[in-house]
């Protein structure tokens, strides 16, 4: 019985040494893994979606390969509704290797507006959940995650139509000049078109007009829109219906009363 006991002892000792050496070296080699996150870039895709790109560089100078490397990002609103999510996966990062990846995330602003039109007119905060996971030495799963919030600037912040100015155009029509003002607080430039329809108090359309807008991000916009209305159908009060047609989103009607 002594020999089997001795064999068990030798095998146990061998496996303990192997296990501890492997575990300690795997943990130790984590300090030689470096991550470099570049500046986030923003672009507009051909199908008019906003795409965020983050350049990530992973330098693995550890003793072992890193397996199943995954970066995932989830953007949600205050109520927890998921606006977008994106993930980037690398099957293996070999030791003594440098891997550079682009982590992309796409936001469809139209989808966002379907959820809540306030994103157009009011600033808010978006919640971001970021998680990086990997398998150290291909066997020890590690995940680091964090939550933070990012301000959302409204592209049409404080959108207002000013007091309309009426001038006689001819015997049958008035020329109406409507001042438009807002501040583009979004992270993207706003390029597109604003259409306004003018309705009288009996909800009959009396005139319409449109103007092109180009508002750079974080800058105010002040312009005006001209429309011609029939004198006979004009009333003292009524409402405007405003439509926004831009590269990134279409929205309307926004109803603004006058008179």
């Amino acid at each position: 019985m002594r020999i089997p006991i001795r064999m068990i002892g030798i095998a146990t000792t061998f496996f303990w040494i192997f296990l501890i050496a492997f575990f300690v070296s795997a943990v130790y080699s984590v300090k030689d893994v470096h991550f470099d996150f570049g500046e986030p870039q923003m672009d507009v895709t051909s199908d008019n979606k906003v795409i965020f790109s983050l350049l990530v560089s992973i330098t693995n100078r550890g003793f072992y390969n890193i397996g199943s490397f995954n970066i995932s990002t989830e953007v949600s609103d205050k109520e927890g509704f998921t606006i977008t999510r994106g993930s980037t996966f690398i099957p293996v990062i070999n030791k003594n290797d440098v891997v550079t990846i682009t982590h992309n995330m796409t936001i469809d602003v139209n989808d966002l507006l379907q959820r809540d039109k306030n994103y157009l007119f009011n600033d808010t905060e978006l919640k971001i959940y970021e998680a990086v996971s990997m398998r150290i030495a291909d066997v020890i799963p590690v995940q680091a995650s964090t939550n933070f919030s990012m301000p959302w600037g409204a592209p049409l912040y404080n959108f207002t139509l000013g007091k309309a100015e009426y001038t006689a155009h001819n015997l049958t029509h008035f020329k109406v000049v409507v001042p438009i003002g807002f501040e583009n607080r979004a992270f993207f430039d706003l390029v597109g078109n604003i259409q306004i329809q003018m309705y009288n108090s009996t909800d009959i359309i009396v005139g319409e007009g449109q103007t092109n807008i180009e508002a750079h991000h974080n800058s105010p916009y002040n312009g005006h829109l001209e429309l011609y209305v029939s004198i006979g159908e004009m009333t003292e009060s009524g409402h405007f219906e405003v439509y926004f047609l831009t590269l990134l989103f279409n929205y309307g009607p926004l109803v603004i009363p006058y008179g």
Binding site: I5, T12, F15, L19, I140, V142, Q143
Partner: protein, 149 residues
């Protein structure tokens, strides 16, 4: 009288040898801990109480090694070997809990899955426990056989 003197000398010599062996084993174990800790030290700043936990383990384990050596060639040696194996199992369960280790550091939540390591370590500890039980059985067998011869 001379026999009694010889026995006494033999006992002292045996005890000195056991104490020397226990000291060497304890020092060797502490040396291994010292070397390994140099590799683990960088993460001790992130993991709270890691050094205290490891030191507690090392102190208790060295104590059991020394006591086990001092009681060698008696049945108590195997009791202490079993205690050592049980201590390792208990320590692993206590310190690793479910095997998923989590900590929060400056709004970043870190999660490490040690389940595979824990399973292997537990199996090795159980093997060590089985070995100690076999050794105790073997010792008792041999002790029972010799008087018959």
């Amino acid at each position: 009288m001379a026999d009694a003197n010889n026995d006494s000398k033999k006992t002292v010599r045996n005890f000195t040898f056991k104490a020397l062996k226990a000291t060497v084993k304890g020092t060797l174990f502490y040396g291994i801990y010292f070397v390994l800790w140099m590799y683990l030290a960088p993460i001790s700043g992130i993991v709270p109480d890691l050094q205290q936990m490891v030191e507690t383990f090392v102190i208790v384990y060295i104590f059991l090694i020394i006591v086990g050596e001092l009681t060698s060639r008696t049945v108590f040696q195997y009791f202490f070997n079993v205690a050592k194996a049980l201590f390792v199992i208990g320590y692993l369960i206590f310190s690793f809990k479910s095997g998923i280790f989590g900590l929060t550091f400056q709004n970043v939540r870190l999660m490490i899955d040690f389940r595979l390591f824990l399973v292997i370590a537990m199996l090795l500890s159980l093997l060590g426990l089985a070995k100690s039980v076999f050794q105790a059985i073997n010792y008792m067998n041999e002790k029972a056989e010799y008087p018959l011869i």
